[in-house]
Symmetry: D2
Subunit: 478 residues, 4 copies
């Protein structure tokens, strides 16, 4: 197992990152992006922490080696339950911001294993490459990002019909030593903090979209790759005013592939348009399971902030406040319960336990559809001071602190400072750049609300229900 230090060292490899108009020379020491590097390193710190080691590590049945549990291939529903617990626990320790440098990459590898296996002999070569790549990542304890969402251009047009041919990443040349790819992906999370990056197709393809049916792995410092990092969501401010956004970080990039050479042993799909959709979908099923596993700490925090502010404001016994608390608890537990049901109702494919599609998507949809409403409940209990209170500079100014001390206290259960800290937490999580970022994430990360509905409708088999209705209506079957 690698140490935190080894991991961070590995990120200093010349990768090309731009941030707010400037080239970033070292992502681990950059004043803003460095926060994220320290943050994602939590995986390595926890694996080293006796309190968490048993959960973070696992015995690999294939190699009989101790490995990072993220790499453990799920073969039973209990494995999926444990993976859920792993992701939830790490994210909770990471102040609700999932590190996402091992979760998503293993999601992609499991999906590649399933899909290449289901291809039969046609997929044998790819399967072999996936297995080798997986074994190396597992054994070297690497971190991985995934780049899936294409920039898409005009969303009403298919890949091959786009005015800009590179609106979906594509193979521009096949050579003896590999393929040359061109295009760009958006919303790539934490690739700047990963040792490897897996690239997957974003949707089903038709025969004319062949060049866009491409999957592979690359190192982030490969020639031709450029990352344009988004500055949104996390502030540098200070821990008093922004207790979470000042100390954690997630970074999305516009990830540009400027005629990048990918050697054949790293290519997992190259033109098999018939399988592009299945690969995209299978990855997404693993990844939405990851998503609903990492959302719960944030929802626990929503519950906790509402409960805390109810106490501090002296309104914990008001009927409407109790009602809001119970709505928040049900929200949290509905997401968590459906995630467990998704594990329980997994489907075995190629010997791998794939989370139940309907439950996974129902959990994800439920989370996403109600997130804004639940934010509202927290803000409602917290009160208007969340945006009208003075901030740290005033708290530290002897001319103004006495007024704040005197007039911004609440019930006897907290000091004024504690109440202000709680208020600042609510603002940081729900009513700030980070708050807006989390709202967008809720409805767009891991696919939009519409996508989840479509997935459920495709996957749910309505025929038995229709037949049941026929039977009860006295209509012959068929």
């Amino acid at each position: 197992m690698r140490t935190e230090q080894q991991y961070l060292e590995g990120l200093r490899d010349g990768r090309v990152i731009f941030y707010r108009g400037e080239r970033v020379s070292d992502v681990t020491t950059h004043p803003s992006l460095g926060v994220g590097a320290a943050h994602t390193a939590i995986d390595f710190r926890l694996a080293d922490d006796p309190a968490h080691r048993d959960l973070l590590l696992a015995l690999d049945p294939d190699t009989q080696q101790t490995i990072s549990r993220y790499f453990l291939i799920p073969r039973t529903f209990e494995h999926l339950l444990k993976r859920r617990e792993l992701i939830e626990t790490v994210t909770r320790a990471a102040k609700t911001t999932v590190p996402l440098v091992k979760e998503i990459g293993t999601d992609a590898m499991f999906a590649l294993m399933v899909v290449t296996a289901e291809l039969g002999t046609a997929g044998e070569q790819y399967r072999e490459r996936v297995r080798n790549f997986y074994a190396r990542c597992r054994d070297e304890d690497l971190t991985l990002a995934v780049a899936q969402t294409d920039v898409k251009g005009d969303r009403s047009l298919r890949p091959s019909k786009q005015p800009n041919p590179d609106a979906y990443v594509r193979i521009v040349e096949e050579r003896a030593d590999g393929i040359i790819v061109r295009g760009a992906k958006v919303h790539t999370t934490n690739a700047v903090y990963a040792d490897e990056m897996i690239v997957l197709p974003t949707r089903a393809m038709g025969p004319e979209d062949k060049a866009h049916a491409v999957a592979f792995a690359v190192k982030p410092n490969t020639r031709g790759i450029r990352f344009l990092a988004a500055p949104r969501g996390f502030g540098m401010s200070n821990a008093f005013d922004n207790p979470v956004s000042s100390t954690t970080r997630m970074v999305e990039t516009l990830t540009v592939f400027d005629d990048v050479l990918v050697p054949w042993e790293r290519v997992f799909m190259a033109g098999e348009w018939q399988t592009a959709g299945e690969l995209a979908k299978t990855f997404v099923e693993f990844h939405r399971f990851t998503a609903v596993s990492y959302k719960t700490p944030l929802l626990e925090l929503l519950v906790g902030m509402a409960a805390l502010m109810a106490d501090y404001n002296g309104i914990a016994k008001a009927a409407h406040v109790r009602d809001k608390l119970v709505q928040l608890v049900m929200y949290l537990e509905t997401v968590r319960g459906l995630t467990k049901a998704a594990a329980l109702e997994c489907q075995m494919r190629a010997g791998i336990a794939v989370p139940g599609v309907v439950y996974t998507n129902a959990a994800k949809y439920y989370f996403a559809a109600h997130y804004h409403e639940m934010v509202k409940q927290v803000q409602d209990v917290a009160g208007g001071l969340v945006v009208t209170a003075p901030m740290r500079e005033d708290w530290e100014n002897p001319d103004t602190r006495p007024d704040m001390e005197r007039y911004l206290g609440g019930s006897a259960s907290a000091t004024t400072e504690q109440r202000l800290r709680a208020i600042n937490l609510v603002r940081d999580i729900t009513a700030s750049d980070l708050g807006g970022y989390l709202e967008l994430l809720a409805i767009h990360a891991e696919g939009s609300l519409e996508t989840q509905k479509l997935t459920i409708l495709m996957d749910a088999d309505l025929a038995p229900y229709r037949d049941y209705a026929k039977r009860l209506a006295g209509i012959p079957a068929g």
Copy 2:
């Protein structure tokens, strides 16, 4: 195991039932109530059916006898999952109307086992009686009803403060041979079809409510018991117009205890007011799990009817119709998934697996809170003909049938008769006396929406979430 015939025979025991102003002499042959007797007998028919026997029967680990699976004491989460499947399967076979002559009674017995065990030596005598009663019911394959909800009078007053002292069932005398009880219960389901009736307190009691802290079992034909059966919800009509309500039945009664003598060996609580609330609550937890298990076939039918009518009306491809279908599927699967999570997260109490409280109540609340909305979706897809179409007499009248044939057909996927039958099913389930009955049941059976919210708030431990918020805000714990 008893046969259907033996079961029905047992109901002809002189029990005192009134229905629509008249005394019912034989509940099995009564033109209206007889439908229900035949319906509840489905438990015995399925136990005898090779296709269902394995699910309906089980090997009792205590006696090594084959028993009705309802009586199998749940000792693992798998037992609860299987019990869920049992209740769902039987209710599906019963056209969505749960028979409820074994489910609820075993819920009550499991709760009595848990609560009397947790009382320690103080409960030893009661525990013994419960065990004996349970063993007899199991071995003789009896059916059981439960009477819990008191009439309550003015709901803003506690039992002992009611102007009518009998607004909650109470002990009016303790004698050497047993207790004399007086009062009445409402909403008692299917007691008229049961061999035994268990009576439980409906709420927590204070010391001054001692006389109301009473639990016992009686035979329905015990002197002093009168049943006033409600006529709502199920019509006698015909299978064309009312395919479900004409062939199934559930009956609620006002169950009057007019100074009924209950021998001591049938008394399970008599004055232990401190335990009344716990018993009521524990029963309800088992019973809400039963409830969310038996709701799913009705929700499957909602999905099925919407899908069928979408086809028959030629609107299956409309985006808004697809959206309604997916909402219905998510509704079904959210209830089902949370029920499975409740089994998975059971709590062991006195060696018995009690379904997880938060998940059970979240499932029940979700079901209840959205039922009307989902009925709306089905009605929306089905169309206005649900209430404006002529009915069977017109369909059979040669003067009018040709007009109906000619003008009431839909898409090519169905004949006019099939479409009318499907429409009639939608009306029967959603827009009729039965439809109204189901709406009320959704929000009142097994406790109101408010009760489920209160239960969740009592059971959920908010402290860890509050502490989590404190930690992230930089507030010291405690």
Copy 3:
């Protein structure tokens, strides 16, 4: 002005009505349909009642005669506000069941006036006929029904593409003395109680649908017209158990046109396919305004029943009950307020005040989208006895009445009988055949939810909002 007696006399004209398999000889004395005739006659009773005369009658500015106010052509927003008040008041007096024998007919005539006027000289002949027909109806104080919704067959196909060519009413022959029409309309309300019936197209037509672009007026006893009356929604029962459904009635028919001759002076459109959609839409705008005007008494009753049951159950001070009451009040007032806004923001077309389209449809949509939810609130407050209480026969049976008296009472604010009557009212309105009928009506009468959304999207002009966004974003206009 005609008297109630004259009106009823006029309905005995040999019209061909079938009901539950039998030909109805006299609609005014028929045991079931006669209830509706007495009910719709309320328009004539109120016009004769000093308490209501000022509202029911109006001075016609054109003729300087006193006319039924329904016929008053709206020329200002105050006229529309008064028309709203008229419809609300009559429906309130009619126990929430709108009589609908003058409202809808005048809606149709106003729409015909507007659309034929906007046709210019092309519509002159039609306009003349409409005016003459209107003048006669007004002067003779006639009642009118409207038949608009075609049977539609496969809804995914246009009129001219239907396998059944008569799935939309059509002209099968043009003759010197008139047109011959064939087909059928569904959901025709109260035509069996009307002196005249106006027939309108149900949708926009294309050139190939020319034969279906037809509008006209006929007397219900015209040769070739048959009514198949739906029996749903209203029970004959008794006033104790069914206080509303036993004494009021609305009747929908399948209205068959079996090669009916319509003389030219009664034809208002015959082949002008370009105008069919505009006529359908304009009628619907008037009629949705009527709809949202007549819904409010039902919503007032929902508020009233919830408030009453809260008192009778002793729960009026519970926070969740108060919350439900305020939700119900807001629901009522949002519908009423938007209706007033629709009047205020009317559009003048051909000198006639047409209710504002967006507000009318927003009111209608809001009503329809939330009706089921509001029914749930009422049922929630009322309690399970709504479907589990014994009924009138038991109340009148001396063997059972004492038990009901003793055990079915609530708080001190009501006798047991009063509580039972209130409970029965809740069941009759929300959990019975009538309850189901009202739910279907809510979402399908006057167009489905989808239709209202489409209408709003067509009518709302988004360009100014888009330009506003551009301006604030710093994007040049255009």
Copy 4:
């Protein structure tokens, strides 16, 4: 009428303002607060603009002078409709951020006129002072803020029971020359930009709260007044990244009264605890009407941004996108329609038209209850780039701009820059510090959701509805 320059000049009067730890010497030139001064001055710019002058100015019937229309006392529903239009129009011109330096102050003065008039002779002295103060403000064209919300301390305790006696502003001494007041108000909007500040009680008071029943007017530079300005919601950034928040501003303050002397002629209530609640409520009714009038431009912008992004992303024809657009339009028009209904149904009190309470509160509640959901719809249509796109510095960097140009474009209807600008606007309004500020404002400004519900329940007269239910149930009245 004053000019913009005269107005700004008036703000340089030595008022004590702190902002982010520093004393502000000149609010009109301060780098951050100065933006707000320029912003609120829009009232004076528009009054001078021929395109808006007719709306901004009015002829005062009392003085026959031209006055700022804000000061026009509403005496008919048309006046209220015009006032609504005034506030909407100015706020639209002000990029959705209401200036609020004349709206709220006139709300307070109208309320003071009504309440002091209703006090009869007891209020004569106060009425006189209010009239004089009003006349001066009107004639000198002054700007006014209102400080109402007390800091409240432990919200479960009444004013006189607070551990901190100053948790509600109070009179600490009555002197010959006036009263001395102590305490603080929170959420005071734009007092730093006003010529005068009116202070009102925040709630109903009991006899023991007498000292807290106080209302008066003060100049912001009065000795003893300190403003601690909140820095939230508006960023200084640049017009590309933050098109709205960088150019508009609203400022809330903690407003401290450190033993401030208020001369008697400026005191409008001093100890009349019986009237405190009525004054608070009446002010709020005027002010919620103002609120729902100024919300609509923001809602127009939500519609506009969604429509624009739908075009730019090439998804304008997707059914779910159209559905979101229509939901947004209905949201906007429901708020606007109910506001118009509130004007139409005004109540005359002391000769002044007070907006209808139920409609005003229903509009406000509807706005507040659904704001987060509507933000979600806009974000859903806009897409994840709202938070993952690079920003202005990258756009201006020649190393990265070509990638952005190439890969961040959408449909042919916009250039990449236009799409980025539109995306930035969406982020600025919905997913930034300003976005969070607007969410909090939606649910807390002008009273919380609970308050609006309580107001409706207090104001709505349920008796007629209850009687209606009784009548239909056959229960005698009374």
